[in-house]
C-alpha cells in the first residue's frame, strides 16, 4: 500500500525534472538573444576578445549609430508596409480559396488543390531571376506591388493548406444555419468561417509576417530604388565584403527582431484563446 508521502514525493521529483528540462532548453533559446544584445554593446575591437555576456563598458550609442547609418527609419516603414500588405493579401486570398476547396464542389477542384500542394513541396529553385524577368515583362519590376505579389505567392500554398484542413473539420451546422437565414456564400465566409478560423489565421499571420520580415534577396533583385528596400537591407550595410561591423550589426539585428516578437506576442493569445472561447459552446 503506497503512502501519500510516496505520491507526494513522486510528484515533487517529477516537477523538479520537468523544471530542469524546461530551464535547460530555455537557456539554449535565450543564449543567442543575450549574446546578440551583449555584442551590440561592445566595440569592434573587444567583441571577440571579451567573452563575458555582460560587457565591461556598455556602448548604448551603437543603437543610435546603427539606426542612422543603416537608415532604419525608412526601411522599417517599408518592411512594416510590405508585411502588412502581404499578410492581409494572404488572409483574404488564401481563406477564400481554402474555403472554396473545403466546402464547394466544382470541376478541377482536386486538381487545383493538388497543384497548390505540389507548390508547397517544390519551391522554384533559384527563383529570383525568373521572377525578375516575369516582373520586368509585367512592368512591375522596381515596384512595391510587384514585390508584394511575389511574396503573396510564396506564402500562398502553406496558408491555403492550413486553412483548408481547418475548414474541413469545422462542423457545418453553423453554416447551414446561416444559409437558412439567407446568407450568401461570401457572407458565410466573412461572417462565419473567418471568425472561427482565428487561431489558424493567427498562425498564418505569424508565419507570413516572419517570412516577409526576413526576406532579402528577392527585394534586392527586384528593387533598384533604394527607397523601396526593406529592413534587411539596412543590416546588409554592416556586412562588408571583407569586414563586418559586428557591434552595429548586432544592434541592427536586435532592432529588427523586436517587431516580430511583438507580433508573435499579440498573435499567440489568439492561437490558444480563440480556440477555447465560446464560439461553439456559447
Amino acid at each position: 500500500m503506497r503512502t501519500i508521502a510516496y505520491y507526494k514525493s513522486k510528484k515533487i521529483v517529477l516537477n523538479i525534472i520537468i523544471h530542469l528540462f524546461l530551464v535547460a532548453v530555455t537557456i539554449t533559446c535565450l543564449f543567442p538573444l543575450f549574446w546578440m544584445i551583449s555584442s551590440s554593446l561592445k566595440t569592434q575591437q573587444t567583441i571577440f576578445k571579451d567573452m563575458s555576456l555582460i560587457p565591461k563598458e556598455l556602448h548604448f550609442e551603437n543603437y543610435i549609430l546603427a539606426w542612422k547609418e543603416g537608415g532604419f527609419g525608412r526601411y522599417s516603414l517599408n518592411s512594416i508596409f510590405y508585411a502588412t500588405a502581404v499578410v492581409i493579401g494572404i488572409i483574404i486570398i488564401a481563406s477564400l480559396a481554402a474555403y472554396a476547396f473545403s466546402r464547394f464542389k466544382f470541376p478541377g477542384r482536386n486538381f487545383l488543390f493538388f497543384m497548390f500542394m505540389a507548390a508547397m513541396m517544390i519551391p522554384i529553385p533559384g527563383s529570383f531571376v525568373p521572377l525578375y524577368v516575369l516582373l520586368n515583362k509585367l512592368h512591375l519590376r522596381n515596384t512595391a506591388l510587384g514585390y508584394i505579389l511575389c511574396m503573396v505567392s510564396v506564402g500562398l500554398s502553406t496558408s491555403i493548406f492550413l486553412l483548408k484542413t481547418f475548414f474541413d473539420k469545422l462542423p457545418r451546422e453553423l453554416e447551414d444555419a446561416a444559409r437558412i437565414d439567407g446568407c450568401s456564400k461570401f457572407g458565410i465566409w466573412w461572417h462565419v468561417a473567418l471568425p472561427l478560423a482565428k487561431p489558424v489565421l493567427a498562425v498564418v499571420v505569424v508565419f507570413n509576417a516572419l517570412n516577409v520580415w526576413n526576406e532579402y534577396v528577392l527585394a534586392l533583385v527586384v528593387f533598384d530604388n533604394k527607397n523601396l528596400m526593406p529592413l534587411q537591407r539596412a543590416l546588409m550595410m554592416f556586412q562588408g565584403e571583407f569586414l563586418t561591423d559586428y557591434p552595429l550589426l548586432m544592434a541592427g539585428l536586435t532592432i529588427t527582431a523586436l517587431p516580430i516578437i511583438i507580433v508573435y506576442l499579440l498573435m499567440q493569445k489568439y492561437i490558444v484563446k480563440g480556440v477555447t472561447s465560446g464560439a461553439l459552446f456559447g
Partner: protein, 294 residues
Amino acid sequence: MKVKDTLENYMFILPAVTIFALFYIIPFIWVFQLGLYEWDGILPTKTFVGLGNFREILLDKIWWGAMFNAGYITLIALTFQNALAFLLAWACDREIRMKNFYRLVFFLPPVLSEVVVGLAWQWILDGNYGLLNHWLTNLGLASLARNWLSDPATALNTVAIVHSWKGFGWGFLIFLAGLQTIPRTLRSRTRRRSRCLGFFPQDHYPADGARGGISGYTHCPGDDAGICFNYRYDQRRAGVSYAGAGVKDFGFYAWFIAFRLCLCARDYLWFNVGGDIFYSIPLLQQGAEHLKKR
C-alpha cells in the same frame, strides 16, 4: 442557376489561382525547361542537351552523398525535433506558472535571424575557442571536447541538432495550442489519441535559390549568414555547394529540383504522417460537446 453557382465558386479561387499561375507556374516551367539546356546564365544562346543533365546528376556520387545527408537531417528533424517540441509542450501544459514566459522563449529560435543563429552557434561550437568546449573543460570533461563542426564524426549530427533547435518552436506552438484545447475532464478520461501530430513546414533555407542554383557563387551567401554555417559541413562532405562552387550551368537546376524534392518530401511526410493538430481541435470540441450533453 447551376452555372451561376459554379461561377461563384470559381470567384473564390480566382485571385489565388491567378497569382499562382503567374508567379509560380510560369517561372517553374521556365526553370524546368532550362534543365534541358546547357547554359551559363548570361550568353544569349543555349545548347539543347535533352535529358543529359538529369543523367549526369543521377550518376553523380557527390549528389547522392548530398541526398543522404539531407535525408539524415530530415530524419533527425522528424523524430528528435518533433519529440522535443511535444515534450516541451506537454511540460508547459502542466505547469501553470511561467507558462507564458516559456511560450515566448521557445518561439525565439525561429524568430531570430539566421545571421544571429549562425554566429552564436559557431561561437559556441568552435573547436578551438568555443564556449561548449570551454565549459566541458571547466566541468572536468575535457575528454568530450571536440571540433564539433570540423570532425567528420560529429559534424553531421551537430548540424542536425542545431537545425532542429531552430525549428522546434513551431511544433511547440502548435502542440501546445492543441493540448490546451483539451478540457481537463477529457484528458483524464480519454487516452490522448492525437498522437504524432503534424508539423509545420519550417523550411527556411536562407536564400533558397541563392544557396543552390544560380551561378556566380563561390560560397554560401553571406559568410556570416546563419544556417549556412551548418551546411558548410555539408559543403565539404557532400558537395551541397556543388552548384555553387563554380558550376555555372543552369542545367544543374535539374539537380537542384531533385534535391529540393527530397527536402520537401519531408514536409509532405509531416503533413501526412499523423493527423494535423487542426484536425484534432474541432474533433475534441465536438467530443467535449458530447460529454456536456450527456
